[in-house]
């Protein structure tokens, strides 16, 4: 598997670290969020067989966090974007 980093271009998997499901969002009001909300955020995963949006860290390259849209059955990568702009805009 190769990931096409927006800064560095296509790079081998060994340069990246997996950061998990990008669909999970931290509760907006951490103090007010109940046990169920935290349980959902920390532990429950959709774990789809197919399209999956996930974080990857390009640790041996530009050291940016990426959001990769990848198929978990074929490992085909549909889309790679920097995570930071999306995080700043408050999107998932």
């Amino acid at each position: 598997m190769r990931i096409a980093c927006p800064w560095c271009g296509p790079r081998p998997l060994s340069e990246f670290t997996y950061g998990g499901d990008a669909a999970k969002t931290r509760p907006k009001a951490p103090e007010a969020a109940g046990l169920e909300t935290w349980m959902d955020y920390v532990y429950l995963r959709k774990n789809p067989a197919g399209r999956h949006r996930e974080y990857w860290h390009h640790g041996s390259g530009c050291r940016c966090w990426l959001i990769v849209t990848r198929d978990t059955v074929t490992h085909e990568i549909e889309h790679v974007a920097l995570a930071a702009p999306q995080m700043r805009e408050g999107k998932k």
Binding site: M1, L13, V42, L44, R45, N47, T72, T74
Partner: protein
């Protein structure tokens, strides 16, 4: 038909051409008392112990493919109970005791070889951890022996003990009763025994839906029609999330691929199961002579039941560093299995919010060794609608209460357990 020396001799006279089929191939009936989704090791073991321990025989095991195509045929055949957390030790020790009597119980030779499982350590900190683990095992009545460098050298001389070794060996923790089991024979033996007691094993039957009504499970939809059931058990390993999702359940599980490798067969060179303490690498020599290697998870969500080159490189590097004499062996085969990794690295054997629906999964990469105890405790859960004491900690609710069973303290990162 009972297998024995007499049956062997009798069949020798007919050139071994008249052995009966090992299990029937029945058509699914419209209804069963218990439907088990998944004809892997754990599903078949559950069926066997439901019939043997609880007299429940109106049971169907539904397998979407053929028996042995899933993880029961893809693992590296290692059995051991060298755990640290009390729940895991007690459970896996019960499992190891069942392995010890399994060939007799099933009347099928599962070829258990208690050749010992050795985990090496390479730093003083690792030695402390090994001592702690060994003490925890011995406190729980499990055999554990701490070996020094020279004792390890005597046991496994092919490890690199040279002064230039990248990770010098300080010693190892040995579980003498650990070893390996012929994995296909486990599937076949459990299937044969369950079938002989009246369980219907239905292959090429994929479950496509779970019907519930008034909070109870009613039936399963399959590609061979609808099958009504009083109780349904989901025991499908890597595809746990998808099948449980059919009943509206959400799980603390991610699916990850774990790869294994086998080399060309060579003469006996290794009579112990050895796990490298400095990198994730374990090796066992099969009866055919092939060296079976495994490494660590690929580390990202995957449902791909196949290997890839990244893991191959890691495992080959670890193998060559640990046992340099393997460096020129050729690999024959390379495959992957899908592991249902839980958030704390321990399994789940539980009732669900849907009455009559039970879940067994989240075995991470340790499912094979747990097969007998998993079947034993799951059968108890289904028959009595109450958890077996050995599996009472393996609940879903532990993630809410905080009573997680986290063997290596990796936190909710399934790829790191």
């Amino acid at each position: 038909m009972r297998y024995s020396a007499v049956s062997l001799i009798r069949n020798a006279f007919t050139g071994h051409r008249r052995w009966p089929r090992v299990w029937r191939e029945p058509e699914p009936k419209p209804a069963y008392d218990v439907v088990i989704i998944g004809g892997g090791g754990h599903g078949l073991a559950t069926a066997h112990y439901l019939a043997r321990n609880h007299g429940v025989t109106n049971v169907a095991v539904l397998e979407k493919s053929y028996l042995g195509n899933g993880n029961v045929g893809r693992n590296t055949t290692i059995v051991r109970s060298n755990y640290l957390c009390p729940d895991n030790i007690a459970f896996n020790e019960h499992s190891l005791k069942l392995w010890e009597g399994l060939s007799g119980d099933l009347n099928y030779n599962v070829m258990l070889s208690q050749r010992g499982v050795l985990v090496t350590f390479h730093t003083p900190a690792q030695r402390d951890a090994a001592i702690r683990r060994g003490n925890s095992m011995r406190l729980n009545g499990v055999d554990a022996v701490l070996l020094g460098r020279e004792e390890v050298r005597k046991l496994v001389p092919i490890i690199d003990f040279s002064p230039s070794a990248r990770f010098p060996i300080l010693g190892g923790l040995l579980q003498p009763r650990g070893g390996s089991v012929r994995h296909d024979a486990v599937a076949w033996g459990y299937a044969r025994s369950a079938d002989a007691r009246g369980v219907d094993i239905i292959q090429n039957c994929e479950v496509t839906g779970i019907k519930t009504g008034k909070g109870r499970v009613r039936a399963v939809e399959t590609n061979r029609g609808s099958i009504r059931a009083k109780k349904v058990a989901i025991i499908v390993a890597g595809h746990s999330t998808l099948v449980a999702g059919m009943a509206g359940l959400r799980l603390p599980i991610e699916s990850h691929v774990l790869q294994s490798f086998v080399t060309e067969p060579v003469k006996p060179v290794l009579d112990t199961v050895v796990s490298f303490g400095a990198a994730h690498f374990a090796v066992v020599q099969s009866d055919k002579g092939g060296l079976v290697f495994n490494g660590s998870l690929d580390g990202y969500n995957s449902y791909a039941q196949r290997g890839n080159m990244e893991a191959l490189e890691d495992v080959a590097a670890a193998a060559a560093s640990f046992m340099p004499c393997f460096s020129r062996l050729r690999l024959l085969r390379h495959w992957g299995g899908i592991n249902d990794m839980t958030m704390d690295g321990s399994p789940i054997i539980t009732k669900t919010p849907v009455k009559g629906l039970y879940f067994n999964g989240g075995w991470c990469y340790g499912g094979f060794k747990g097969t007998p105890a998993s079947g034993w405790t799951m059968a108890h859960l289904i028959a009595n609608d109450a958890p077996h004491e050995l599996a009472s900690g393996f609940t879903l609710s532990r993630f809410e209460t905080g009573l997680v069973i986290n063997e290596n303290g990796a936190g909710p990162c399934p790829g790191r357990h």
